[in-house]
Symmetry: D2
Subunit: 385 residues, 4 copies
């Protein structure tokens, strides 16, 4: 392994942003990399402020990502960025990615990958052509007990999986609409910045990704109902999706950003003919396994007898919550391993355990298929490709 601390840059994530700082904490948590450059805001002064708070060299703080891509691409080897984190509003992901890809930087991209399936597919082609890595931030898959859940399914412990239920219920919108002071994320309901979908593109794809990560099942067709309960602008903030998986299993997705009083209610239940599993994000360190014979077992992060991936994904011992940033950092850790692997062996085709640009394409396919089915009055609709 090339023995040096990796260097990252960031686009977006300036003052007031939620996800930018989380990326920085996750990226740096294990001491394997440091964010050393950034265009944190289109407002140069705000970008400068953000850079200053991170004690960055002011000469590497930009007000424009084009300038950043240009200038950073000319850095000498010992200072050159290894990767760039894109934490801007959805509609700009593709353009920012393109700017850095053309200079050969690896990328971390905030989800959703793009604002349409076509855009996502184009970006996937660009990434492949550039021979670069792109990690998509489906952070929930970084939790140790999600990895354990995946292991349990893959090892056949559930028997044949026939049903998957995923819920992602948030209540921020009712809160914000009622508390004007809290409306910091206006761009999130602006179709020009998020695309044609609100809830599905924002959190539905997390549900889709989580279910796929754990079960490996592929959606064949789906039947959806969506609604715009509160947000307006022609954007859906609520939806239910019936799913038929390839192979015969069925799924049920309940996705909503108007679930008054909910926090960040993501949960996954997978039913097999021998056992079922339940994972809830509100108690992320637990995995409930329920046996056909009515014996419930709770497996804990940090405990013995977990799979190797779940053990490696934990930092603190049993009974000490690692939290979401650590889960996110697990994605980065795999991404760094991939970067180092590529650096050692540019032709390597080893795969690593982080969400890729292809996950982003599948996520956008899910979003578009849901919208299409809902618009055609809940017609069963084959998954878009």
């Amino acid at each position: 392994m090339p023995h040096r601390k990796l260097r990252g840059g960031m686009v977006g994530g300036g003052p007031g942003a939620f996800i930018g700082p989380v990326h920085r904490m996750a990226a740096e948590l294990d001491g394997e990399a440091a964010i050393v450059a950034g265009a944190f805001s289109r407002d140069p002064e705000r970008s400068r402020q953000a850079g200053s708070q991170l004690f960055l060299d002011p000469s590497r703080v930009y007000g424009d990502y084009h300038e950043m891509a240009e200038r950073e691409s000319q850095m000498p080897a010992g200072q050159r960025l290894d990767f760039v984190v894109i934490a801007t509003p959805n509609a700009t992901h593709a353009a920012v990615a393109a700017a850095f890809l053309q200079h050969g930087f690896h990328l971390v991209c905030e989800k959703p990958l793009a604002v349409s399936l076509d855009e996502a597919k184009a970006l996937e082609r660009d990434v492949r052509n550039a021979g670069r890595l792109l990690m998509l931030s489906h952070a929930y898959t970084g939790y140790p007990m999600v990895k354990q859940a995946r292991h349990v399914v893959a090892a056949g412990e559930l028997g044949t999986v026939f049903k998957v239920i995923v819920e992602y219920h948030q209540g921020a919108l009712p809160y914000r609409l009622h508390n004007p002071a809290a409306q910091q994320k206006a761009w999130k309901s602006d179709p020009a910045q998020v695309g044609r979908s609100l809830a599905m593109a924002d959190i539905g794809i997390h549900a889709e990704n989580l279910a796929r990560y754990v079960t490996g099942l592929e959606i064949e067709e789906l039947c959806a109902e969506t609604a715009s309960v509160m947000v307006g602008h022609g954007l859906e903030d609520d939806g239910s999706v019936l799913v038929r998986y390839r192979g015969g299993a069925r799924g049920l997705f309940s996705i909503s950003q108007v679930c008054t009083g909910e926090h960040n209610g993501l949960s996954l239940r997978v039913y097999g003919d021998r056992r079922s599993l339940t994972w809830r994000h509100e108690t992320p360190d637990l995995l409930l396994i329920r046996d056909r014979d009515r014996f419930d077992t709770t497996v804990h992060k940090g405990g013995p007898s977990l799979c190797a991936e779940a053990i490696a994904a934990g930092r603190l011992p049993l009974g000490h919550p690692d939290g979401m940033t650590a889960g996110f950092a697990n994605l980065y850790r795999q991404f760094y391993a991939a970067i180092r692997d590529r650096e050692e062996n540019p032709r390597s085709d080893r795969t690593f355990d982080f969400p890729t640009v292809h996950d982003g394409v599948l996520g956008m396919a899910f979003v578009e298929t849901v919208l299409q089915s809902a618009q055609s009055s809940a017609k069963w609709t084959a998954m878009a490709r």
Copy 2:
């Protein structure tokens, strides 16, 4: 109020039955009535055994419900039954009901009311023509905190309700299919005895009834997917239903009897624009109220500041679980009040808080509409009438 202990008879519920004994316990819990006669089994010896275990007068224990109806109708006033409890397999409910209605007995009927919507509607007409009472045993609506939930909605505390999620997930079938010794309820998967539907008719109607009881919302149309995962016989054991309520609210029903490892997982969530509520049968004495402003309150059975109906429906004080039989007994208590009211004033049209034959009609309409939508490839289907 006519001051005497009421007298009940029972059809079905003999040795090995689950629900018959629960009816008896619930019917007698408050000391307001006693079961004094019965045709507990079509096997006269088994019926006699059951009667003997209840210390009944052997002359009032029958092996045939026709004989029971005939003989009991000739009892003098001071011994005459006030009501008859029907706890037989689904397919016989209508015939048993008819036999007793023609002699003017009030009825308690185990759910589902019938095996088809037509049969249910015919029974509703008979009940109305006979001028008798029929209580349907949707026991979950008897829980104090379900009554509190209903009050919270009716009082507008949730604001405008826009979404209802009901789950009813059981895991008995995977257990039984794997443990031959446990298969005591074979009739439950015999279409000749249960009708065309398994899960929807057995538990889906509980979900439908619970949601309607709490919210008062009426289903306008629905879109369903069902499956026969394990049970075969052309019966569905799993289904998901998207619902559009009159007035614009939406619903999501997840109904399954093949949820490996689940017990009796009934839950209800109602989302309004100000607050939401959650009630789970696994912790029936709690009602979770979540505020738009992210303040969670848990309200407890037996606590102060509940509505009058929730207080009246509790027997033990705060922190002492009443259990399901007590909830069931609350239905009986209302039923007895209705009987006494009718006895005092035969023309009374007072309503009481128990599920009626009309709830049974609506339940069967739900079942048939779900099957119809599922068979037409999840087409939105107007609620059958």
Copy 3:
């Protein structure tokens, strides 16, 4: 088994009482017995009212328990009471018991058995001399999962037990002192009616009995601190007790009736060197078993693979809560079996699974030892005998 419904009488439990009606519901739940006589209040009119609500024969409703004992003792065999339930304030238990014992009735006595150890021991002698049965109402031991807990310990599944933690935390007192309308149980803080102890005699003995029932451990000596936080009258409403069990295990009891906001927070934890168990009254149908190797199992009432006693003690299937009355009824069921056994064979020495007068003696010994240790500044004090 003599095949007839048993007949019970009740002293106390009139209008407004909490525990009297629970005794009646529990005593009659399984249809094995009926309450047919009573002196429900010292106020004859209130007693009459209570009897009337139960539809009793007015000639068997009394305003005085002496009269009741006298008159009922003269009833012919076919009407004679089999047992009498004593549900009066603590200070009267011994006298009421004596009145009925002298006429040879079996007894059910509300806890605590007496107001002093000496009184309890005298009553034990009387019961033994009369050759009658006395069941003490430690209802918590009737729960199926408490029986399962006892089984788990006895079967050695925990390994060697070295520590027991029991909490019994109630919050009714802070509520009542602040809500004058709620003070219906004034006698509970009147030393003339409850004796020298409030919290220990009211709920501490439940904790002592539960721990002993499950573990079989005997207290050798204890060290206690008590306080009168709110109730005054020289009565303790809060206390902590360090315990040394015979054989070397240790215990910790936390008993309080001033735990603001608590409901009826009884819990038991037993630690062995292989496994531990946790039972909480707020979720009485669950038993948590935690393994040395960090594997948690939750065992459920009504599930397969429970011990015979836990299965027999359940009435409703998995996922359907039986509630506290049903647990209480399990005590009565065993008591009735004992009565029938004695009737068949007066010399029988079979034991049955219900708390006896000797449990009452041990409970009072616990109370007095706690008070003595607390008064001697938390000195280790040998269990009183």
Copy 4:
């Protein structure tokens, strides 16, 4: 605020250590400081390895803390360490601290501060004389909802506090003694390295610190029972402590490292005459507030209407767990603010919200008083000074 990234060094925390890496993650989480030097192990090769994994300048990685103190004290201003983290076994804390204090470094010290009260008091004098800061790592006080709990008490929302219950139950020891492969922390049961106390010094002081942090109450006297259930070596691994606080409130501490099956079960309950609060480390983002009037409220990390300290201590929004490292980082954040404050104004006496050397002295006083009381047969013993 002097605008530069702070520089830290670390002693201990090499390969295989648990707490060293947590210190590093916490110290660096907010990007305000970096660990740039260390003596990670007494074995120079292991120290070098640890430094290499952190990509440190090899010239600043040492095999001996004396050498480190000497060499680092000679660094020029722009490279000089601002603080040193001591993450070595207990018995060495005082000596390591002394070595760095004499060169004027601020300190972070892993708990317990020392192995005796005398040693702790001597260290407190040294810190005061040196005019340096020492932060003690009682990380649990860094959790947002612990800060909210403190606020709730200070704001009088509980009314008068009269009772405090703290539990700290771990089950690692039964696991390790049974799984030889897991015994990595042998030094933890070696009196030469941990001092005279095991459980009290390791986790009892966390309980003491947490209770004091939240309530502000000072222990006046205590009465304790301890046991050596499994560990031997004359060290206690289990203990219960009755506490009398100055002002009349009472406390109960249950501390054990042999609670089979438990993970890291720290919990705090505080009872006032108006409300009570419960915080459990297993669900650190929740604070349960229970009202005298039986109304339960759950307050969540990241939610609105928290106190300023709880808001500032959260990094991720509502429903996204921050985890323990983030709580720990809150201590570091306050420590850095103190360092910067001192740098700006060396005479500043502003206080900051992190545990200090004085907390360490009080912790050791607690440990010694507990041992003394237990040895004198649970005699009430005044808190050592």
